[in-house]
Amino acid sequence: MEDKSIYTGIQPAWCPGCGNFGILQAVQRAFAELKIKPSRVLMVSGIGQSGKLPHYLKANVFNELHGRPIPAAIGAKIANRELVVIAVSGDGDGYGEGGNHWIHAMRRNHDITYLVHNNQIYGLTKGQASPSSDLGFVTKTTPDGAPLPINPIAVAISCEASFVARSFAGDVDHLSAMIKLGISHKGFALIDILQPCVTFNHKNTYSWYRERVYKLEDGGQYNPDDKMAAFSKSQEWGDRIPIGVIYRKVRPVYEDLLPALKNGPLTRQKLDPLPVDRFLNEFA
């Protein structure tokens, strides 16, 4: 058995029974199984219940503003490619406030892993609808029912995210396997995690998800390399919800575009004003 104790952080402040505990376990297990030392990992999270995750395990942590983990993760990855960089959002944080960063980070294919704790609600601010709340979901800010939700899987495929998976916080085995794949993938890896919020979301509960999720791996004929099949799969939501790797495509990562990164991490480059002297000739 892997030793997860080295990944234990401070005491979680989540509600008892919250789906986030499953995510925490899965991340720790993935690290342990991949044998990644805490010091090699940088977790950049946003604000929300999800944003607290990094504090509860052991890693380098940058707890960002609401909606902004992706840009900081990108900046850090470019500065030091030797870091394993994981961005962590909630559905509000990632698909709402931070939606613009998300779509552009996917198309540019930055080499980071993106965990989205998708509880289909704003947890930390006490139960408003989120961009992924089901159609018609009633909250105090959506008394007339929420509009059509975002389909994160479909959007990710349309933005050519190079690894797109969905998993379920209630299935730690599956989730940790997905996280391992995501971390191992070179390029932007989205893992949308169905996460029950026991306090504010009384619709999409553990049992609601459990009755619906099925594994794409089971059956063994689903091919995540087929974009059209993936898009078609992304349309399934309701009685049956697929989990697993939905889309995957090997393509150049953004960081490979940058000539400066060829000589090792930027953090190790020398700071030297002297070469600038020759640029001055341009101004003579």
Binding site: S39, A76, D272
Partner: protein, 571 residues
């Protein structure tokens, strides 16, 4: 005779007004003169009206003048609009003497298009015809123009056409100009000075300071900063990324800085608005970043290609909550370089965000400056733990409370210990807290950094007699016009001096208190409506200035304008 030659080139956007300005600046700089050249253009790519003013002196020059000796009119509108600025002994070079009613005695008709097309074989060389004519009229050395052409035109064929065009313009003018022009200038010894604008100076400063990461979203007037830096990616080992928006830009900048490199972003007011939350995040997480902030007139989109100093108070107070920051506002191109270097040093030494607050006027004006001596550039990264030091610490605390408030910095993966920080209020270890005691200590720790930072701030520059009846007070890009206004006033025997701030925050109070005690009248001179620097003085010293000279039409001050306003105020 002292040289003070003012050339105005006017035309449509797309006609190459700006490159004539740059070429002239280089031509006269290579001939040992000092040049100052500003730009005036609209927010469009073709058409409309744009112009640039080139001022050539035998001594240092850092401002334009209101009167024009030579007007090069690339179209009719340029005559209509600028004719009245031309001095009585001046000349207007234009294609057609029908311009301006047709009876303008000052017009020297130069068949630019014809010579370009028929003699040089390329209609696009009309501007070079004009440049050749300028050499002839001023009596300046044509070789120097040809020299500059060699560096300017990469394609040999195009180069030859332009050289021909210049010679044609030169010869035609020599043969046809009626009387000798009042202002003859001859090349002096080349002092090997260089010519650049404020954007270039900021970009070079950042490169010299070892900036390794830039993320930005284009916005006038600071876009050229990132464009220039991007052109040096290979040579400097630097990553430049154009972000999807400014929010992303500042947060990427913060992420890179946290990971361990010097990093910056560049923007203008509208973009900075979007960065304000990230600005506070840098304050809270004590992440050093540098922001090159080129002002333009607001509010909102305002006048996108014009100048204003309207954002000072905004920058001083931007973001909710309180945290230390530094704000520098270079007064000259040279300062733009050196203060950018300093910005990186202060950012890292105190682990704070630092803003270089300049404006369109400085950004887009060319000036003759000495080559910056790279051997005198110092890089002070502040307290950073190396891997050995770090590994000897059991529990590294990113936000350790220290006497001066600065915590030793470490980077992820520099050693085994973990680096943790949080946008929430946190404890020394970087984890979120809720209690009043830690909050209080952390606020004090962060704000305490201001005390040491203050020691690193240079006093404002004084010009003129130590004691004078009146004092003109300025900041940022008004330095040049203000200094020349003082000279003009001294010629009128007026007892006046000047104080100029380029390191604005933390505020260097002592000088101001002293001046307020000694000068009978104090006047701030600012390109904004309310007099924001005057507000700052009142806030910091409890003294109100006697008057506020302001201008908010999107155009820079001229020395003459300041003198007139000063006289109106009875200063």
């Amino acid at each position: 005779m002292a040289v003070d030659l003012n050339i105005l080139i006017g035309g449509e956007a797309g006609q190459g007004v700006q490159s004539i300005g740059l070429i002239l600046s280089k031509v006269f700089t290579r001939g040992g003169y000092h040049v100052f050249t500003d730009q005036d253009y609209e927010s469009r790519i073709r058409g409309g009206h744009s112009f640039c003013r080139v001022r050539i002196k035998d001594t240092q020059v850092q401002a334009i003048s209101e009167s024009v000796d030579l007007l090069v009119a690339l179209n009719r509108e340029s005559v209509d609009l600028h004719e009245k600025e031309v001095v009585s002994t001046g000349l207007i070079i234009a294609e057609n003497d029908k311009y301006a009613g047709g009876d303008n005695k000052k017009i020297f008709v130069l068949p630019m298009s014809e010579l370009a097309k028929n003699k040089a074989g390329n209609p696009l060389t009309a501007n070079s015809v004009a440049l050749g004519a300028l050499m002839a009229i001023t009596g300046y050395e044509l070789e120097l123009l040809q020299n500059v052409f060699k560096d300017h035109f990469k394609d040999n064929h195009v180069l030859q056409q332009n050289i021909t065009a210049a010679v044609e313009g030169y010869t035609y003018t020599k043969n046809n100009v009626k009387s000798s022009f009042h202002h003859q200038v001859h090349a002096r010894e080349d002092t090997h000075k260089i010519v650049m604008d404020g954007n270039e100076a900021v970009a070079l400063g950042a490169l010299a300071a070892g900036c390794k990461f830039v993320s930005a979203y284009p916005m006038t007037p600071s876009t050229p900063v990132i464009e220039y830096m991007a052109s040096k990616e290979n040579e400097m080992g630097l990553a430049v990324i154009q972000a999807e928006d400014e929010i992303s830009a500042i947060n990427m900048t913060i992420g890179a800085a946290f990971a361990g490199v010097r990093s910056m972003t560049a923007t203008s007011g509208g973009g900075f608005c979007l960065m304000v939350e990230g600005f506070g995040l840098a304050g809270m997480t004590e992440t050093p970043i540098v922001i090159a902030y080129g002002q333009r007139p607001g509010p909102a989109i305002g006048l996108p290609t014009r100048m204003e100093q309207g954002d000072l108070q905004f920058v001083l107070r931007a973001s909710h909550g309180e945290f230390p920051r530094a704000v520098f506002a270079p007064g000259t191109i040279e300062e733009a370089f050196w203060l950018t270097v300093k910005a990186f040093n202060m950012a890292e030494k105190y682990q704070i965000p630092v803003v270089i607050l300049y404006d369109h006027y400085l950004a887009d004006s060319y000036n003759t400056v000495n080559r910056f001596d790279m051997t005198t550039v110092t890089i002070d990264r502040g307290l950073i733990l190396g891997s050995d030091e770090l590994n000897s610490i059991k529990d590294y605390k990113r936000h350790k409370i220290t006497p001066n408030g600065v915590s030793p910095r470490a980077f992820p993966l520099a050693g085994e210990p973990l680096v943790v920080t949080d946008s929430d209020e946190h404890n020394e270890a970087g984890h979120m807290i809720e209690d009043a005691e830690t909050r209080t200590l952390m606020m004090q720790k962060r704000m305490r950094k201001l005390f040491s930072l203050r020691q690193d701030i240079q006093p404002p520059k004084l010009y003129g007699p130590k004691n004078a009846g009146s004092t003109l007070i300025g900041w940022g890009s008004t330095f040049g016009p203000l200094k020349e206004a003082i000279d003009l006033l001294h010629h009128e025997n007026i007892s006046v001096n000047m104080v100029h701030y380029s390191e604005i925050w933390p505020f260097y109070k002592e000088t101001m208190v002293d001046i307020m005690a000694h000068s009978q009248h104090t006047f701030t001179v600012e390109n904004n409506f309310t007099g924001q620097f005057a507000d700052l003085i009142a806030q910091e010293t409890g003294n109100l200035v006697s008057g506020r000279i302001v201008k908010y039409d999107g155009r820079p001050f001229s020395p003459e304008y300041i003198v007139r306003e000063f006289n109106k105020m009875g200063g």
